[in-house]
Amino acid sequence: MMNNQKPTWKQTLKGWLYVLPMLIIVAIFSLYPIVSSLAMSFYTQYNFFTNQVMALGFDNFKYLWEDPLFHSAVANTLIFVVGVVPLEIVISLTVAVLLNQIKVLAGFFRTIYFLPFVTSIVAISMVWKWIYNKDAGLLNYFLSFVGIHPIDWLNDPTWALPALIILAIWKSLGFNIMLFLVALNNVDKRLYSAATLDGANAWERFLHVTVPMISPMTFLIAVNAVIGSFKVFDEIFSLFGGQAGPGNAAMTVVFYLYRMFYEQNKYGIAAAAGVVLFFMILIVTLLQTWFSKKHVHY
């Protein structure tokens, strides 16, 4: 068959047929819900069960603009993202680099670190509830060695968000370490020999060879971590027993959305919160992509 001919109608049709199965699934389960939730965010009077729209407008967004709970949900979400993502990347990269240096037991440690990823978040939260316990918890026990008084992690509004951040970082490590290990293994070892001969010490080799060479993976992990952190919900739900922390101290945008939708049946407001979240993620991801153009080397 010639490749330089213009496709005929028959060939074009055939091409579309190949894409069709996936296209149908995407259209029904992704595109349609996205479009309808966008539409729903403008429904100010709406019967969810009969799908009757009585009135349209910007009232839902106005409500969010004025609701202090939504403000604190946005603020908490941003604090959570800023608290989790950088630490998550730095810690998992450090552990991956260390793990990459050892030959013995590397597989054993990889498995250990990977466990949080395969364990149910509900079970993990049970364990952390105990770790965070004010009187019997492991964390306060260790902190007592450095002279810090017991902190009521789960019931003190000041500490609820930090407790959540610690849990989220810990939970994400396993998978990110795995991804970093893959990237580290793919760096051409001869570059390290060359850099050593060029007079670079271990830190300079890390900075000038490792960091740029694994930057595509770092970018992937960062984007993934940002999106995941913006959507944080299940950790809160299971750690604080279905609540958004003491006095809504761990209220995030998705938790707010959940509460509006399932508990208060304010479907339009929930949809509007979703739209706001969508644009928050979009802006940050665009910023990351712009940044990556300069600093990620493929």
Binding site: D188, R190, L191, S193, A194, A195, T196, L197, D198, G199, A200, E204, H208, V209, P212, M213, S215, H297
Partner: protein, 346 residues
């Protein structure tokens, strides 16, 4: 800088000795080729010079300084890796600058020096490109410039031409020679290609089985091989080896010692007498011409020989008298050591 190996051996942790009693001098400013088959110890020797491997016994000197215990950085060697190992995320200029940046050379000096080096290796018009945008030959040039950037005591090249296509190979081997002569830096390169070594090097060290077979000027290696391995390895087509009993006593008496095999260079076999030669009865099967080259298939007794100087005038498929010029005939004893001509003791 002069490099001196003083009875150096290398034993791997598993107890296998891979290099035996390496004892040689590389004269300052020379271009030396480490030549030999795979597994012969060329790259290992190179790594011993570089300091990437350290000797099990013996001493290594750079000039008067004992560098046996020093690592690669301390010895100040510049190295060009087989795959060049250029930093893919840096531009050509940044690649060349990198060693100077690590050595904390100030910014304007290192840039100026990098530009000079880019000029020397002729990549001045490519300095803002990434390595992946360059051809193999250009990458090689950049790798050489980077290795030269820290003004190394000695420049080491590991199979520098093996990743290039045939035409580039010829071009780059001339370039390596030019750059070496212009900078005057003592240079050692590894190759398994004898013609590469013969064309470029001032001296060739032929290695096999972790031993130096011969360390000599290229022409001496060809004209005056120490042993059967050297005679066999150097020269294209390969040496014709015939058991001594195919020849009469008269021929064997020419050499001093117990002749086991006789080697005849393909280019020494001819059907026209020119120089002092031994006569032999042979059958010419065919004579092929390839451009300026000729190749004839010959048999002596049951042995197949290749000759390049048999003309198309030779009668085919019948017993003929051929001559083997004495300068291209070597006799070896049982162990493969070369036997001198009788009365030719130096």
């Amino acid at each position: 800088m002069e490099v001196k190996f003083n009875h150096v051996t290398l034993t791997y942790p598993n107890g296998v000795e891979v290099l035996h009693d390496m004892d040689f001098d590389i004269t300052d400013g020379q271009l030396v080729a480490l030549l030999g088959p795979s597994g012969g110890g060329k790259s290992t020797t190179l790594n011993l010079i570089s300091g990437l491997l350290s000797a099990t016994s013996g001493n290594i000197y750079f000039g008067d300084k004992d560098v046996t215990k020093q690592d690669a950085l301390g010895r100040g060697v510049g190295m060009v890796f087989q795959n060049y190992a250029l930093y893919p995320h840096m531009t050509v200029l940044d690649n060349i600058i990198f060693p100077m940046k690590m050595a904390k050379v100030d910014k304007s000096t290192r840039k100026q020096r990098a530009l000079e080096l880019a000029q020397l290796v002729r990549v001045s018009d490519q300095i803002n490109k990434k390595p992946s945008d360059l051809s193999g030959g250009q990458q090689q040039r950049v790798a050489i410039a980077r290795a030269l950037a820290k003004s190394p005591n000695i420049l080491l090249l590991d199979e520098p031409l093996s990743n290039l296509d045939a035409r580039l190979r010829v071009e780059m081997r001339e370039e390596i020679r030019r750059i070496q002569k212009e900078t005057g830096v003592t240079t050692v390169f590894v190759t398994h290609d004898q013609s590469e070594a013969m064309h470029v090097a001032d001296k060739i060290m032929l290695l096999n089985d972790g031993r130096i077979q011969q360390y000599d000027a290229p022409q001496s290696l060809y004209e005056n091989p120490n042993n059967q391995f050297v005679a066999n390895f150097i020269g294209e087509p390969a040496l014709n080896v015939v058991p001594a009993d195919q020849f009469d006593d008269e021929v064997r008496q020419l050499f001093d010692g117990d002749v086991a095999t006789i080697g005849i260079r393909a280019e020494a076999l001819t059907n026209e007498v020119k120089a002092p030669a031994i006569k032999m009865q042979a059958v010419v099967h065919e004579v092929l011409s390839f451009g300026r080259d000729r190749q004839a298939a010959i048999s002596v007794g049951s042995h197949q020989l290749v000759a390049t100087e048999v003309t198309t005038a030779a009668p085919l498929e019948q017993e003929t008298t051929l001559f083997a010029a004495l300068s291209g005939v070597y006799a070896f004893d049982q162990s493969g050591q070369r036997l001198p001509l009788r009365g030719d003791h130096a």
